[in-house]
Amino acid sequence: MLIYADNAATTKMSRTAIDAMLPYMETYYGNPSSLHTVGQQAAEALQKARETAAACLGCQPREITFTSGGSEADNQAIVSAARIGARKGKKHIISTAFEHHAVLHTLKKLENEGYEVQLLDVGPTGTVTAQQVADAIREDTCLVTIMYANNEIGSIMPIPEIGAVCQEKGVLFHTDAVQAAGHLHIDVKAQHIDMLSLSAHKFHGPKGVGLLYARQGIPLTNIIEGGAQERGKRAGTENIAGIVSMAAALKEACDHIDENAVKVSALRDKLIAGLSAIPHAALNGDPVNRLPGNVNFCFEGIEGESILLLLDAKGICASSGSACTSGSLDPSHVLLAIGRPHEVAHGSLRLSLCEWNTEEEVDYMLQVIPEVVAYLRSMSPVWKELVSGKRQFML
């Protein structure tokens, strides 16, 4: 049995997404910039994909720029807003401490260039409020960039409220919606979103393709210079097969968004309830406003990578915010941001589900995970000290 519970890392492609891309490899393989028929067929497909994606997000097709993925879209959105701000002497940027590194590292680069970056506290459940954003906005704020939902712990931010605050104050608002797109209802106009990034492979589309929505009138700064593709804002021959496939996957995800959410969140809740029975374990992230597929726990006294290796041996694919999976000494910046101590953050496990997971799989995971935790605790000197009272339990 192979149980794939790492859908926040990437998803298996859907049949729809695969079928959508094949003709653009085999038959309509032209370059959309070419004048001839084969090229123009590709150009037509590109336009259709743009219309489909725009309809899913509630924007105009011309407001979509196709990119190589979520990271590129994040980079371009943030750099664009920063350049617009600089022209008006505004160099203050508001974000959160638990953004994806595509955002945090771009902000770090801007900080080195003289921008002032303010990272909002995300609190113990990993959320920010619109009030926090309102309080942080200054005269010289040029951008608020806050993720739609957190990739590790699944907390969903109050995006429409934050968007409304930004609109009222006249500050550009970007959201990294990589984990949300195809899973949560997004309407960029109704939710007052100026810029949004998404990535195809998080909703059964292909890897290496994503998009940036930028409200009409927001001038984008190029990250990739070259030809005049994407209205001159993103050079390079378009990844037609990937783009067409992404549009098909996004449409399919959005068409089934409610039924998928009902099914997946029921599986999620069963997992959370079952894992909560393990002593000295704690759920990470917002228990209510939570991505339908996200389960993230800390287990005291053990280390995350060893949990993953044992689960892998039992056919369960999961992930961890453990330092040992990343090659650095520090565990997940997300878990540290919500206040988990280093010792506890090392012992984290993320299971991320999709609509193809089953209740049988959840039952199997609920049988295996407590055994793995108990086994690792049995050989852990930290656990022994916790149990004997020499060390204080934190969870």
């Binding site: 280390e303 280093h342 656990w383």
Partner: protein, 144 residues
Amino acid sequence: MALYTDMVMDHFMHPRNVGEIPNADGVGEVGNAKCGDIMKMYLKIKDNVIEDAKFETFGCGSAIASSSMATELIKGKTIDEALAVTNKQVVEALGGLPAYKLHCSVLAEESIKSAVKNYYDRNNIPYDKSKFPDCDDCEACRMV
């Protein structure tokens, strides 16, 4: 998983000598939970020979495998032979470790030394202090 060699996986999945030795003659602990690795080594020593070695480890796959291998390398050896075991030998015996996991092998070496030092201290046996690690400033933590 291709991250680790078969030998590392074998020692991780089926660790040798896990547990505590009651009334051990020497006990050493290195690492700290904040950094994500703690190794505790128990030694039974008779006539200068390590009759038994057991370990308990909080840490990743390579930390557990390194501890397991370290106990195998020192069982039946004299104290001097055990003290001569290097992290490099642990790595070689495991068929290699990824570069960013080498600190686990250093911890394994230091856990042996720490347990022997504890044995010396208990029995008032004189030794060269400079040859033993000080875990508050140990090499493993600096390597990461």
